[in-house]
Each structure stands twice: as structure tokens, then as C-alpha cells.
């Protein structure tokens, strides 16, 4: 029989995590329970669903902190997120559909670390930092260092994800997110990406560009970021398109082909900069 624990607070959760590193850490269960009847039952379940200390969205001190247990519905309905972190709100609205958004959590997306996790390129583009905890203490990990391979992360066997900390973009930084899939709702992304582009007039001062579903993990595209620096937006779009191809490793699978993903990734990245042109004119 599967053991089950719903901790009352974070200390109890961390003690249980340390004592039972083999237990399944479960929150919204939208990934871990897919085809549950055809999977082996876990030894135990550490149920973090609605664990109060990790269920929050909080704006303070030049950042927005989102608890690992916050659902995407809570994220997309948060006024501060919609105002300051529009790409995250946009990604949240396209994760599954209403039923999935009501259950799936930020911690789940970050912990599962699927290469098609829709929020993950946003966390890269917005330069998020993750807060993790264990009975040994708390630590912060820049999200750009979090993913170590296909569905592997820097989370230790006794640690739990507590929150993501997202710095508010500055007044000259524009942000964008875009997903390409078979259908807006429910479909798993073929390619998706996010960017944070800092402008001086129409000149790109700095850019963080991230893509998902084109490698074994969500990735920042350093070659694009280097190619656009110092360029006017129109030139940056061309430079970005040229730089993205050699920098990604898309695959053929049931959802798409490598060549299609490559072309879409090029168009997507170019459009991030093209799309800024009208906005920069204002």
C-alpha cells in the first residue's frame, strides 16, 4: 500500500522529504498521474497540494515571488504578474486548459523539467532565481543553472522547491512569449520561447532569448543574444534568425519534425525583434 502524508507546514514537509527521498512529491498531479492506472504505484506520496507556505504570489522589493505550489490559474489571475510579467501570464494561459491550469503548479513545471514545459523559457528570459529548501537549510539557484539534462535538475534528493523569484523588468526592457502548437489549448508545444529585450530607442542594448522544445532542456540562445547586441531592431531580427539555426538541436518526434521546428524557431526569434519595432516607435 502506498504511504501518504499531507504535511501541515514546510518543516514537516522537509523532514518527510529527508526521511523518504524515494517518495513521490505530488502537487497538482497533472503530469505524474497521467495514465496512473498503467503505472506502478509509488512507495509513498508527499502531498504538497495547497501547502499554505508555498502557495502565494507576492510582489515586493523589485521582484515578484511565486510559490512553488501556486497554480497557473492563480498566476494568470494575479494583477501584478499580468502588469509586470506579461509573458508569464501568457504562458500560464496556454498551459493545458482551465482544468489543468487549476491544478498544475509552478513547482511542478520546474521540478518535472520537461523540455516542453511552457513556463520554463519565460523563467530563463526573465532571469528567475529558484529558492529551494531542505532540513539542511535554504539556498538560491539561478534558473539558468537549474537544468542539467533531459528532465534532470540541480534539486538534491532531500530538497523541495519553495519559490521562483522574478526580478521586475526595467522600464526600457520589453518582454514577449509565444507558443506554436497544433492547437492553443491542450496541445503540447512544438516550439515555444520567450525574450526580454532591453532597448535604447530602437537599438538593442541587451537581450535574453530562450526557447523550449528544441533541445533536451529549455535553453538560452547565447549566439542570438550576442548577435543582436548593439543592433537596430530591424537588423537584430535578421541577425537573430541567422544565429538561431546552428545553436539549437531540435528532434523528430510524434509532434513535429526537426526541420519544421528549426524553421519555426528561426521565425519565432526573428519575430520577437520585429514585434518590438512597432512598440519601440511609440
Amino acid at each position: 500500500m502506498t504511504a501518504y502524508l499531507r504535511p501541515r507546514d514546510l518543516d514537516e514537509a522537509l523532514a518527510a522529504r529527508a526521511a523518504h527521498p524515494d517518495w513521490m512529491v505530488l502537487a497538482g498531479a497533472t503530469d505524474l498521474m497521467v495514465n496512473a492506472n498503467h503505472r506502478a504505484a509509488p512507495t509513498g506520496i508527499l502531498d504538497l497540494w495547497r501547502l499554505a507556505p508555498i502557495c502565494f504570489v507576492r510582489a515586493a522589493d523589485g521582484e515578484i515571488a511565486i510559490g512553488a505550489g501556486a497554480t497557473w490559474l492563480e498566476v494568470e489571475r494575479d494583477a501584478a504578474v499580468c502588469t509586470h510579467l506579461a509573458p508569464l501570464a501568457a504562458a500560464a494561459r496556454e498551459i493545458g486548459a482551465l482544468q489543468i491550469q487549476a491544478r498544475a503548479t509552478l513547482g511542478g513545471n520546474v521540478g518535472t523539467s520537461s523540455p516542453v514545459g511552457d513556463s520554463l523559457p519565460v523563467l530563463l528570459a526573465l532571469d528567475a532565481e529558484l529558492e529551494v529548501a531542505s532540513v539542511r537549510g535554504r539556498r538560491r539557484v539561478p534558473y539558468r543553472e537549474w537544468c542539467t539534462g533531459y528532465r534532470t535538475t540541480r534539486l538534491a534528493a532531500d530538497e523541495l522547491i519553495v519559490a521562483a523569484h522574478l526580478p521586475l523588468p526595467g522600464p526600457t526592457t520589453r518582454t514577449v512569449w509565444r507558443k506554436v502548437g497544433t492547437r492553443r489549448a491542450q496541445s503540447i508545444s512544438k516550439v515555444m520561447g520567450a525574450a526580454a529585450i532591453t532597448l535604447d530607442g530602437d537599438v538593442v542594448i541587451d537581450a535574453r532569448v530562450a526557447l523550449g522544445a528544441i533541445a533536451d532542456r529549455p535553453v538560452r540562445i547565447a549566439a542570438v543574444e550576442a548577435a543582436v547586441r548593439g543592433q537596430r531592431l530591424a537588423d537584430a531580427a535578421h541577425a537573430a534568425r541567422a544565429a538561431v539555426g546552428p545553436a539549437i538541436q531540435p528532434i523528430d518526434d510524434v509532434r513535429s519534425t526537426a526541420s519544421y521546428r528549426r524553421e519555426v524557431a528561426e521565425n519565432l526569434v526573428a519575430r520577437f525583434f520585429h514585434g518590438m519595432m512597432q512598440r519601440a516607435d511609440r
Partner: protein, 166 residues
Amino acid sequence: MKLAFEVNGERRTVETSPWKRLLDVLREDLRLTGTKEGCGEGECGACTVELDGEVVNSCLVAAGQCDGRRIVTVEGLARGGVLHAVQRQLVACGGAQCGICTPGIAVCAAHVVDRGLIAGCDDATARAKIRDLLAGNICRCTGYQLIVDAVIAAAREVAPGTEGAR
């Protein structure tokens, strides 16, 4: 484990594995077979129920997670033998055909109407919102138009926040 929770306003207890799907607890342990299984992967929405006031796929909820929670299934939409407005309108508008997706659509649509999620919208906006809010409920028979018509008609009947015609 012993599970104690509220289902359609009644307190129920079940002895079950915490890993069992809420969908199976409802259908097998409580014999509430109105909730259907479509895909078992959270893609189709046939098994939609309300959990603590939000719509969820019951195939993706572990039984253990339901202890102390409040569930509403399609059997809980009607009150005192009177169908919920969305159920009446699904019938009246022809918004159901084979019927497998219908319980999930009724639960999701009742949530949309009762929560006033399309209240105050003009017709075109309301229709777009309904398609968005019901995007997780897949129907392979009707082409959706009649379902959207039914939700629009139900919303007209129901003042938001009043739990409809129940």
C-alpha cells in the same frame, strides 16, 4: 487510507489507496457513474468535476489529495429534481450527442455560468470566452456550436453568483 470528503453536499467516507484516481473512487466506490473516463491523460475533460470550487480532471487527482475536500460531480448539478440551467439548455439546444463528453461539459459550463465568468460580456466576447474556458472539454460529435449556444442560453437565465436555477 480512510478518506473522508464531501461529495455533492454529502459527507462520504471510503477506504482506498491514496494513489487511486478520484475518477475511480467516484465511479467504483461511490457508484457515481455520471462522471466518464475519456482519455485518462487529462486531455479530453470527460471526467471533469469541481474540486474545492475549481474544475479539474478527476483522472489526474489522487484519492489521498481529496481527504477533507469538497467535490461536485454531474450528479450534484441538479437540485431537488430540477436540472441546472446548463443541463436544460444542453438538452434544448441539442448540445449533446453520444453523451460521453456531456457530463464533463455540463460541470465545466455550470462552473462558468455560476461563477459569472462570462457575465456582462457582449455575445461575441462571451462566445469566445466560452470556447476558451471549455477548451479542455473535447467533443467529437457536435462541432461545439450547439454547446456554445447552450451555455449562452443558460447564462441568460442565471444571475451570476446565485448558483443558477438550483
